[in-house]
């Protein structure tokens, strides 16, 4: 008998519909897993057991009445950057400690409407700024595969919670790789939808032209189920796309014969761990074996994506984070006068990396430097976007590693911010171009650490992206491996 926590969302829905299990049992099993493991892993900032069990009871009742909903009774958890009505939302920052939103983020509201049971809020890099979750103001989250290593970031709590079977799926957000990198480091399936496919309403903003919420699950099929619910136009977000949402489950045909997939030569960078490169090459062979046609392509402006990203994202952040002044919400530090109160509140309330990025963005936007930094970056961004548009005229998808390395050790990159930024070197361009990307497990390196395969699709091409990733998972077993810590 499979343990309840090992079920995928698809398997659990079948058992719930067949009356073999209840949502209360399923939810309790995940709460037990949290109780057993989370004092070690530390993925959750807030656990909401009473709320979850009440929602599970309601789900069981609705199911008994014959009511059908796409995720009825499925326990999930939410990154703490997404607003949850009545449940503290901190962005892993001291400045928001105690903040309780008055509304749900649209993507959270849609999951509730679809029947989600909410287990709690997940740890992250403060304001989603980081690649290891070490920038949380509260505590580090550990990688379930090796407790000396980071889970990736910024959605590290989401990655670790899904990998350690503490929830059936989680929401993350991705501004420069923050869904896909922890997906890769924790050995799970992690989808960054196209910019505008999922509403940003209630996602506490970091880089508004880049931010995107998406699902982190154990299978592509489960990710498709979550995206189906989250995607679509929202009158509350004028940057959400009005295009109709395809049937993502129906897109999972298992057939990728004739699909043209490009390998960008710029993505096999110097310094890549040899085991990562060889695992990804083997995965590409597998896609070819399944009938895909593999061609080499070029995305010539790839090497500029890192500086463009860190100028655009920090510039947007310096404006977005101006709202945190400790007056309408948050924790103020009183000074001599109003300005002194602002300075102290922000100086003491924000962590080291957040202050560094606000400073970088403020500098890039300031008089005398605007043209050379922010202006130049937005021009080169147009070239990066054009690279993708040209590539997708000849190929259906692009394939690459998610990260040049497996998860690194805690503390390894803390002293050198630039070295930490380089962790995102293969994920960032996707956000700048507004296209979609997914990371799926494709092997192990450095002993027992997961390696991620990244597939990239055109804007609003999630159906084709999911079809290829699902076909790969149907033909391989990597995504079924569990960290030794959670095996019985």
């Amino acid at each position: 008998m499979t343990r309840l926590v090992e079920l995928t969302i698809s398997e659990a829905l079948n058992k719930l519909d067949a009356g073999e299990i209840t949502s209360v049992e399923l939810t309790q099993a995940h709460l037990d897993q949290i109780n057993t493991l989370d004092h070690t892993i530390k993925a959750f900032i807030t656990v909401t057991p009473e709320l979850a069990l009440e929602q599970a009871r309601q789900a069981d009742e609705l199911r008994a009445q014959g009511i059908k909903k796409p995720l009825l009774g499925i326990p999930l958890a939410i990154k703490d950057v997404l607003s949850t009505k009545g449940v503290e939302t901190t962005c892993a920052s001291k400045i928001l400690k105690g903040y309780v939103p008055l509304f749900d983020a649209t993507c959270v509201a849609r999951l509730y409407e679809a029947g989600m049971v909410m287990l709690g809020k997940l740890n992250m890099d403060e304001f989603a700024m980081g690649s290891s979750t070490e920038n949380s103001a509260f505590f580090n989250t550990l990688n379930p595969w090796d407790l000396e290593r980071v889970p990736g970031g910024s959605s590290g709590g989401s990655g670790a919670a899904v990998a350690a079977l503490m929830c059936m799926g989680a929401l993350g957000t991705d501004t420069g790789g923050s869904i896909r990198l922890p997906g890769s480091f924790c050995g799970i399936t992690a989808l960054k939808p196209s910019y505008g496919r999922v509403s940003r309403y209630g996602l506490i903003a970091y880089g508004s032209s880049l931010d995107c919420a998406g699902p982190m699950t154990r299978t592509v099929e489960d990710a498709a189920r979550l995206l189906q619910v989250m995607a679509g136009h929202d009158p509350l977000d004028s940057t959400s796309m009005p295009d109709p949402v395809p049937d993502y489950l129906a897109a999972l045909t298992g057939d990728i014969r004739g699909l043209k997939i490009g390998i960008p030569k710029e993505y096999f960078v110097e310094g890549m761990q040899p085991e990562v490169e060889s695992a990804v090459r083997v995965a590409i062979d597998k896609l070819q074996e399944l009938g895909a046609q593999i061609v080499e392509i070029s995305l010539p402006h790839t090497e500029y994506s890192l500086p463009v990203y860190y100028l655009v994202a920090t510039s947007e952040a310096s404006a977005n984070l101006a709202r945190f002044d400790g007056i309408r919400y948050g924790s103020p530090v009183q000074g001599e006068d109003m300005w002194d109160t602002y300075r102290k509140t922000r100086g003491q309330g924000f962590g080291d990396e957040v202050k560094r990025r606000i400073m970088l963005g403020t500098y890039a936007l300031s008089a005398g430097y605007y043209d050379a930094f922010y202006g130049k970056a937005t021009q080169v961004r147009a070239l990066i976007k054009r690279d993708f548009e040209q590539a997708f005229q000849t190929v259906d998808l692009i394939v690459a590693p998610t990260s040049p390395s497996v998860a690194f050790k805690l503390g390894e990159n803390v002293a050198d911010p630039l070295q930490m930024y380089l962790a995102d070197v293969l994920t960032i361009a996707v956000n700048l171009g507004g296209v979609c990307g997914i990371s799926v497990p494709c092997g192990f390196g450095m002993g027992n650490m997961p390696i991620g395969l990244q597939l990239i699709g055109p804007a609003l091409g999630e159906d084709v992206l999911l079809r290829a990733a699902h076909a790969y998972q149907t033909a391989t077993e990597w995504h079924k491996s569990l960290p030794p810590l959670v095996q019985v």
Binding site: Y99, V100, L102, Y195, G196, S209, P235, S238, T239, M241, H301, Y304, P307, V308, Y310, L311, S318, A322, D325, G326, I327, R328, Y329, G330, S331, P332, Q334, D337, M338, W339, D340, Y342, R343, K344, R346, Q348, F350, K355, R356, I358, M359, T362, Y363, S366, A372, F373, G375, K376, A377, T378, Q379, R381, A382, L383, L418, Y421, L432, G433, G434, A459
Partner: protein
């Protein structure tokens, strides 16, 4: 690219961040290093390139102006660290 302590303090003032002397020292070094690495952006020829601030093809999104129930006064100040009679209390803005 070297950022002086004065420049770092000026940026911090623009961003309303109180920094310790140790932070000024550290950020001066780190930001100089990061901006130095970013300098190779200047080698890209962008003379014919129009800048983009969004990837979306959308513009001028309009919707019907339909009144929705507002927050109640209690809700509006529910998260305020300091409020009085449904108003946010702030420090004096003007000198006496």
């Amino acid at each position: 690219m070297e950022l002086s302590h004065e420049t770092v303090r000026a940026i911090a003032e623009l961003a309303k961040l109180e920094l310790t002397d140790e932070e000024v020292e550290r950020y001066a070094g780190q930001l100089s290093h990061i901006l130095g690495y970013f300098e190779h952006l200047q080698e890209v020829d962008t003379s014919d390139v129009e800048a983009i601030t969004s990837v979306l093809p959308l513009k001028n999104i309009m919707r019907q102006d339909i009144p929705q129930p507002p927050l109640t006064p209690d809700e509006a100040v529910a998260n305020a660290p300091d409020s009085d009679d449904h108003q946010f209390r702030v420090r004096a803005v003007l000198d006496e």
